[in-house]
Every structure is written in structure tokens, then in C-alpha cells.
Symmetry: C2
Subunit: 367 residues, 2 copies
């Protein structure tokens, strides 16, 4: 059914200075194929902020070489005998998680990102389940092929543009997952999204799609027009120079999904926007600790800070189906895979509006 005579090649980070546009195109050895694995011939891969934190080692020491990229989409070219939900020729995607124990309470409850034994990232991870791939490193999607355990491979719904779908696989679901978990549009009617970037723009799109009243929260008003096009009906600029940017909006939100990486974010201001019982959910991961906070605002307002990581295959599937049904479009710029280095540098300089998607034209992707 398939031709397995392909080599795995990708843009490799070899050290911390790779972030300066020094990724190198090289061959690598993927995990040994297991009967529950799937190989994908990559046509599209989104560029995620996590890629940059990993290339640079900003989140911690990295076991170079690495091939980053975890918004992987392409054609299924090989399917293990134990995999039933995709077949050769299907268009399928893989997000930021490549494996987990599949046996613990979290995994059984479709909460694989919180696996008790730990999730294996789509890159910078190490497979630990028993099988031929045990102990191997995981390699991501700035590449021509990707091998992944089938449990984490999701079929892309018909009618959803491939370049639009790719960045939803991590960026999209990272905000969609907490929006769903915390009741956006149902128990949480009024939702705020902090940061209008790669993640934040998905936050606005999906919060609206789920039926919430959406408030965009950003440093300045520079992205106000875009935010309104994405679904925001209210906009709060938090660095206006006014004495208190938050006061007029006190206790007007039920849920805030916070996508910024800025360690100096005005967390107490965000908390003041929440109604009692409300949640401020962090999905961006600053490289340094958050500011020290007093306990009183939590006590007096019954508000919460929490965090959420990516999304399970089940949630990815649900999100993609919603996107197909409501014709939700990621705001993307396509970049040729061969220009991955420049795309990384531009992303690092916050130039993306709002997500880059690397397109592998050699594999049939269309710019």
C-alpha cells in the first residue's frame, strides 16, 4: 500500500545560536516504526513560539540536534497494522504531543497532555512506551516526513484548507482547549483574550465561534482593527498611560485566556476584570517566573489563576470540525519550507500576522 523508501530530512537546530537563522537541513533517524505508528509526508507545518523557545534553549537545556515544528499536516504514506482511524492517502495532522502512556486516568479521560507519566513532545521528547521506538528522540515538522504514534494523528476534515488547518494543531487547540474546559459561550458568557498574536488570534476566533462575548486585551490599540475582525466586540488597551486601564471593566469577564509570554504582564489588572468565580488561564509560558502576587485579591474576589497545555487528539478533532463547519480561517502567511530560517527570525521579531505556515512545495504543498 505504500512506498517506504523515503529519507527523513529536516531543518536541524544544532545549538543555541540556531535561533539566529542557523538551522541546517540534514538527514536524521526517526524512531523505529511500530505497528501503531503512522508516517506523514509533510506539506504544511506551522511556526509556533515553542519552536523558538526550544531552538534557543530558552525553556531549559536542549538535547541538540532538534528538528522543531509541531503543527504538522500532510498525506498519510504509511500506516501500522494496529491503526484503524486513518489510511494511506488521507490528509492528517499531528499537534504538539506525540505520545503518552495511554493507560493512566488522564489518558483514559482524553486528557493526554496531562498524562501521569508525562507527555512526549512532538519534538525534544523521548518515547518511553514499550516497543521498537522506545528511547528514541522525537523529531518535528520542519521536515519532509514525520513519524508519529497513530493515537496522536488526527484526520483533517474535508473542506478545511490545509494551510489554515495546520496552525490550529497546536496554536489553535492551545486556546480552544481551555475555552471549552472553562465553558466559553455557556457558563462563561464573557471571555477575554490577552495578547493578539499567534495564540491570541485563535482565542478571539474560537471564543466567538463558541458563542461568547469576546474582549481583546492588548498592550496598545495597534491591533484593535484586526481584533474586531477576529470577533472582539470590546477592546482593552492595558498600557494607555491612563491611571487605571482596568477600572472601567472591573468584574466584567468570566474567563480570561492569557496568551502572552511577557513576565511583566499586569496580572492583578487581569484578575480585576474577572467576576467572582472566574478563571485566568495561562497558556503562554514565560521563560522567567511570574511576578509575586498578594493573596488578598484572590480571597476577596474568589478568582483563580490556572494553566492549560495544548489539547488532546479528541479536542483537536472537535476543534477542526467546528472550524470546518463555521469556516473559521486562521490568519496566516505562507512561507516556503526552504526559507525556514528567515521565518524563524521573523517570528522571533514578532513580525507574524498572525501565524507563519511553512509550505513544502516539493511534497505538493501550495504557496
Amino acid at each position: 500500500m505504500s512506498n517506504n523508501n523515503y529519507k527523513f530530512e529536516g531543518w536541524q537546530a544544532l545549538g543555541t545560536d540556531s535561533i539566529e537563522g542557523k538551522l541546517e537541513w540534514r538527514e536524521y533517524e526517526p524512531k523505529a516504526f511500530a505497528e501503531d505508528d503512522v508516517d506523514i509526508k509533510i506539506t504544511h507545518c506551522g511556526v509556533c513560539a515553542s519552536d523558538l523557545h526550544t531552538i534557543s534553549g530558552g525553556w531549559g537545556a536542549v538535547d541538540y540536534p532538534q528538528v522543531v515544528g509541531h503543527e504538522i499536516l500532510g498525506e498519510v504514506v504509511r500506516v501500522g497494522s494496529a491503526v484503524k482511524h486513518v489510511k494511506v492517502g488521507d490528509i492528517a495532522g499531528v499537534g504538539a504531543q506525540n505520545d503518552s502512556c495511554l493507560e493512566c486516568g488522564q489518558c483514559k479521560a482524553n486528557r493526554e497532555p496531562y498524562c501521569d507519566k508525562g507527555q512526549v513532545g512532538t519534538y525534544a521528547g523521548k518515547y518511553y512506551r514499550e516497543g521498537p521506538g522506545k528511547g528514541a528522540k522525537s523529531y518535528g515538522g520542519y521536515a519532509n516526513y514525520h513519524r508519529a504514534p497513530g493515537h496522536f494523528v488526527v484526520k483533517i476534515p474535508d473542506g478545511l484548507d490545509h494551510a489554515v488547518a495546520a496552525p490550529m494543531l497546536c496554536g489553535g487547540v492551545t486556546v480552544y482547549s481551555p475555552l471549552k474546559q472553562y465553558g466559553a459561550g455557556t457558563t462563561a458568557k464573557d471571555v477575554g483574550i490577552v495578547g493578539i498574536g499567534g495564540l491570541g488570534h485563535f482565542g478571539l476566533l474560537f471564543a466567538k465561534a463558541l458563542g461568547a462575548n469576546v474582549t481583546a486585551i492588548s498592550h496598545s490599540e495597534s491591533k484593535k482593527a484586526d481584533a474586531e475582525k477576529m470577533g472582539a466586540t470590546r477592546f482593552i488597551a492595558t498600557h494607555s498611560g491612563k491611571e487605571d486601564d482596568f477600572k472601567p471593566y472591573k468584574r466584567s469577564l468570566d474567563l480570561i485566556v492569557c496568551t502572552t509570554n511577557d513576565v511583566n504582564m499586569p496580572i492583578l489588572g487581569y484578575l480585576s476584570l474577572l467576576r467572582p468565580g472566574g478563571n485566568l488561564i495561562l497558556v503562554g509560558a514565560p521563560e522567567k517566573p511570574l511576578p509575586s502576587l498578594p493573596a488578598f485579591p484572590f480571597l476577596m474576589n474568589n478568582v483563580h489563576i490556572g494553566g492549560s497545555a495544548i489539547g488532546s487528539p479528541t479536542i483537536i478533532k472537535e476543534m477542526l470540525e467546528l472550524a470546518a463547519k463555521q469556516n473559521i480561517k486562521s490568519w496566516i502567511e505562507k512561507r516556503p519550507l526552504e526559507d525556514a530560517n528567515q521565518a524563524v527570525v521573523d517570528m522571533h521579531n514578532s513580525k507574524a500576522r498572525y501565524r507563519y505556515v511553512l509550505v513544502n512545495t516539493a511534497n505538493g504543498g501550495k504557496l
Copy 2:
């Protein structure tokens, strides 16, 4: 129906040094009586850590003089014409909240502690609703009489010992309220209580009463035997000197109610005890900010920090009925009201096991 020829006298804090045993017994002018008010002839008043923070000004500048005490219980001696749920001669109690707007969404939802216009504390507050008492200061229960808006006066169920009931009015409900809100015994089967003191001992008693499996979490093992008597079936000593006191108990709790005021509490350790989706709810209010925390543990484990303040009259009523039904006993030491100064000093020195109750024998309270 009542003899209103009584004077309001109480132990007054006159400055920050009052914490050193310098409260003075003096007369004061309560708020003007309104037709929705109730007067209580006090027989019992619990000693709460909040009293000490207020006497000393530790939580912020204080408008001296103050009469503290907000676990007030006694006989109803005057009832305004608009009050229907208590009558002269009833035994009734007042907790830490004396008033609120009674009109906002929070108040309408029996969430008066989170009133949009702010709660009026039973002491150190200022009444703001329209009426004869508007603008007056509130005075607490280290006194012979207490005047309170009837909405915040709760009838004590028959069969509940008065000295046992008094400290539940603030200390008890401060932990009972989050235990209920976060599903102790239902959605949160495994519950931890940090700190085995005045609040924490109620945490153990009520978590057990609600049907949870209860874990006590304390610095040392010194209170282990007591904690087990209060209902704990597991005990974690967090300063044992072992490399990691938390590791054996990782992800074993659904909810932690944290009663400590220690700003150096090991919050990351506590968070590690939570299952994904779990909540660490602060009810103790340290005078200084919490330690700075990294975002990653929140993201990777989907855990939350929140806070909870006291409890509404509805929740107090529910708690007292549960206490009466299950014969729950506060662990108290009775102290004569005339020795309030010594009780405060002893409480400040953490000598209470686990709650002091001031008894006004002149008003019929029994030591």
C-alpha cells in the same frame, strides 16, 4: 417586647500596640438602629486571627478605636420590624460580614462576601446602605452587645452547643464555604487541608463530614495525632528534612484548602499534590505577597490557585445544620471575656488548641 436600655461596651483597640495586651474596656456608640437590624446580647465570641491582624494594623491602616471579634453568638434582644427570621429570645449568631449592598448579582446569588459594592466587615467596616446607620463604623463582639443588619444574623440550630457554634461563624465557614464550592466529597473526593490551626482544624472536621478522604498537611508531625482525631486519614509533614516531602503524594488530591498565613509556604509542593484540574484555595491571608511562581507547573498540570472569603448567611446556616446533625465539635478553649487581652496575646503566640472562645458570664455564658 424588649428592654433597649443597654449600653454598648467592649474591649477597644486604640492603637497598634493594643496587640500587646492593651485593649481597653470602654463604651461606644453603635450604628443607629434601623428597622432591618437586630441586637444581640453576646454570650460567646470566638477569637479569630483576623482580630489580631486588625488590632495590630498588620493588614493595613486601621481607623482606631476598634472592637474586634466576628464570631458572635448570643440572645436576640431587639428586632427591627422588617426582620422576620429571628425573634427576641432566639439564640443567633453573626459572622465576619455585617452588611453589603444586598442588590448586586453576587448578593442575589447568596454570594454576599463578594458583593460588587464591597462587604462591610463586622468590625473595621463602615455601613454604606441608605438608612439611619449609613456612615457609621461597625463594632465587633469582644463586647456585651452587638447590633447587625438582620440579613447577616443567623439563627443557631437547636442542639448545637453555643460555645462550639461560635467559632464556626467565621473560622468554620471560611473553610466550609470552599469545601462546598469545590465539591469536597462529591467531585473532589480527595481533599487536603494545609495548616492544622484554628481554620485548619475546621477544614479536617468539615471535609470529613462532607464525605471526603482527608489529608492533613503541616510543617511537622507535632499535630499528627490531633489531625487524625479530627478526621485525617493521611498526614504529610512538609519540613521533614527529606529531599522531597511531596513526591510520594504527587497528584493524589483534587482540592487543597490552604489555611496558613506563612508567606514562605511551599506552594509549588502543594500544587504538585493536585491532580490535573485541581484547585489550591487560599483562605489564610498572609500580610506579605506570595512567593513568585513559574507558569510551567500550572500549564503542565492544569492546576489552579484561587481564594475564598468567609461565607454567606445561607452557607453559614447550612454548615451549622450539618454540624448539629453530625454532632461536629469545634476544638475550643473557653476564656472569660474579662481576660480578652490575655487570650489575644496567647492566640498571637499560637497557643490556641485550636480556637479560643470568649465567654461573657455577665450575660449568662457558661465557662
